[in-house]
């Protein structure tokens, strides 16, 4: 199996094609500035949901603090970009946010992920609240409850598209690799995974770390696209919003998270006016999915180009064929 193969070229074409379509739609004005906001929000949500799905869906650990890591990225960019208003400053701020989010993830994850049970869920919830309260209480740095505004707008939809694509690529490559399979085995049966000499705590932390870092990236893009941030954007409810996308799409399906992020992004445009009723529907659907189809809408099925390319004469079970199916 070579690096340049049908599947990989197929994906490359798909990525470029989507980009060209978006570019054209923007050029002819079908995506107007109003819809562009929706599009960017969808990309941000894709990054958030894919990252959270790695934690929740693949390593099987429930994180309730995704908004906290997004806040770290958002504020890293908000603060740094206000001081260094340039593309370089933006890039530095993204990296800073990612590093900081990664460090916080390790501080929370290392002690709690070795315990079985719900401690991790509780700790992430607590951590994200501490992050929010810390932001509220460092007014010199973060401008407290009012937040930061007038942040240079450097990220555009193209940047968001690029970041979302990169996130999808990295996460789906990861889960279809040896460390990724080790991560999934933890979700499936932690004790069996340990018996196969998999260091479960290490892989759980790794998944959490990657998820936290991508959340910070989403936060940075959010900040530099909208130019305004305040602590109220990163509450527990935001974490739940992302969780809803993951659950709708399918716990353990990257494809599902992408589809759900797009679908909910569009639906939300129309349901925004219904406020509480919309949330009631979301809550009901969340409960119903868990009762009747706990694996979410897509289950753990992934969209696979190699599956589409498969020729009828391919013998099922042959090694080459199997490899192809594993390849993205």
């Amino acid at each position: 199996m070579k690096i340049i193969n049908r599947t990989n070229i197929g994906w490359l074409i798909l990525i470029i094609l989507t980009y060209v379509i978006l570019e054209v739609l923007t050029f002819v004005g079908i995506i107007d500035p109003f819809y562009e906001i929706t599009v960017v929000n969808i990309f941000i949500n894709i990054i958030l949901a894919v990252g959270l799905n790695l934690i929740v869906g693949f390593s099987g650990q429930l994180s309730l603090g995704h908004a906290g890591f997004m806040a770290i990225g958002a504020y890293a960019t908000g603060i740094l970009l206000s001081n260094i208003p340039s593309t370089g400053g933006f890039i530095i701020s993204i990296l800073m946010g990612m590093i900081l989010a990664g460090l916080v993830a390790l501080v929370v994850g290392i002690p709690t992920l070795r315990l079985k049970g719900d401690y991790f869920a509780i700790a992430t919830l607590g951590a994200s609240e501490i992050i929010r309260v810390a932001i509220l209480n460092l007014p010199d740095l973060t401008n407290g409850a009012v937040g930061i505004s007038g942040i240079p707008l450097i990220a555009d939809w193209r940047f968001a598209y690029f970041a979302a694509t990169l996130t999808i690529l990295v996460v789906s490559n990861y889960i279809r690799s040896s460390p990724g399979r080790a991560t999934i085995s933890i979700r499936e049966d932690e004790i069996a995974a340990e018996s196969l000499s998999i260091q479960t705590t290490y892989y759980k932390n790794l998944a959490f770390l990657i998820g936290a870092v991508t959340a910070a990236l989403a936060g940075s893009i959010h900040t530099s696209y909208f130019g305004v941030i305040n602590p109220g954007q990163f509450t527990f409810n935001k974490s739940i919003d992302v969780l809803i996308i993951v659950v709708f799409g399918g716990i353990g399906s990257v494809t599902g998270s992408i589809v759900a992020a797009i679908a909910l992004g569009i639906i939300n445009v129309y349901l925004q006016q219904f406020g509480a009723l919309r949330m009631i529907v979301y809550a009901l659907v969340l409960i119903l999915i868990m009762i009747f189809k706990p694996s979410g809408l897509m289950g753990n099925v992934e969209f696979s180009l190699s599956q589409l390319f498969k020729r009828p004469q391919d013998v099922p079970g042959s090694i080459e064929n199997m490899e192809q199916e594993k390849g993205v």
């Binding site: 709690t112 700790a123 951590a127 309260v133 868990m290 009762i291």
Partner: protein, 292 residues
């Protein structure tokens, strides 16, 4: 010194409500290992039920309290039967997400029914201040302390002395063995939800009276605090929940009084994280590894 005692009294009154709500968390966790995120919202419903009973039927404190507790108790029962019972055999993550969904449902359902605005709770008791030197305590605080302590004693009696209490302890120890011994575990779990939700409802109504205001989102904060109290005390342990409740209540009041009230919530979460690091099973709980 006087202010310290004064704040201690305030902390005890607030803490007793946290303890009341924490008990529900702990009992449910103890029996089916579920973090019932919707518990804080049952507490909120309690405040609203009390509000509607008083404004519409003009009842006194005690009948209102009893009715409120009954209604929230039944609500808890329904929540279990509808949302959690079908998930008894599914993964932990599925039940946790369901619980979060339930919490969202109650909160937004109440916003839809009652509107998002803050309401003021009608006064039904003659609130007086009793002064002992520089220290003062209000009728409301006395009422809160007395009610919660009575309820906790009642709960302790039920858990320790009655057949249902014995069955509860049996189911929490080993649900399958309990079932084989002829205990209807579903009934027992339902009853646990009923008891826990009754206490949460009472807590909600008391806090509504104490602070005079209620909103559909009032459950989120105290719900989480009570939950932290349960974890700090040792989730699954009834005395632990009481201890944790008072501890968190007093800490909060002390920080507000002598420090910066802005960091109050952060300190509470910090306590939680420290407890998780140092003693994840909580002060009075025990950590059990999984059976192979």
């Amino acid at each position: 010194m006087d202010t310290l005692i004064q704040q201690l009294i305030n902390g005890l009154s607030l803490g007793s409500v946290y303890a009341l709500v924490a008990l529900g968390y702990t009992m449910v966790y103890g029996i089916i290992n579920l973090l019932n995120f919707a518990h804080g919202d049952v507490y909120m419903v309690g405040a609203f039920v009390g509000y509607y009973i008083i404004t519409n039927f003009n009842l006194g404190f005690l009948p209102t309290l009893i009715l409120t507790m009954l209604i929230t108790g039944i609500l808890g029962l329904v929540i279990y039967q509808v949302a959690y019972r079908p998930l008894r055999n599914s993964t932990r993550i599925a039940s946790l997400i369901t619980a979060i969904g339930m919490s969202y449902l109650l909160q937004n359902g109440m916003i839809y029914i009652a509107g998002p605005q803050t309401r003021s709770f009608p006064q039904i008791i003659n609130n007086q201040l009793y002064k002992f030197g520089a220290i003062q305590i209000s009728t409301m605080q006395l009422l809160m302390l007395a009610t919660t302590i009575l309820l906790m004693i009642a709960l302790q009696l039920i858990v320790q002395q009655t057949k249902f209490g014995k069955a509860m302890r049996a189911v929490s120890n080993d649900p399958e063995a309990a079932q084989l011994m002829g205990i209807n575990s579903n009934q027992v779990i339902s009853f646990t939800f009923f008891l826990g939700s009754m206490l949460a409802g009472a807590g909600g109504m008391l806090v509504g009276m104490y602070y005079n205001t209620i909103t559909p989102t009032m459950g989120a904060g105290p719900g989480l605090k009570a939950f932290i109290a349960a974890v700090v005390g040792g989730i699954g342990s009834v005395p632990g929940a009481m201890l944790g409740g008072y501890l968190i209540g007093i800490t909060e009041v002390m920080i507000s009084a002598f420090g910066n009230s802005m960091i109050r919530d952060a300190v509470v979460y910090l306590i939680l994280i420290i407890i998780l690091l140092v003693r994840p099973s909580g002060i009075l709980g025990k950590y059990e590894p999984e059976k192979v």
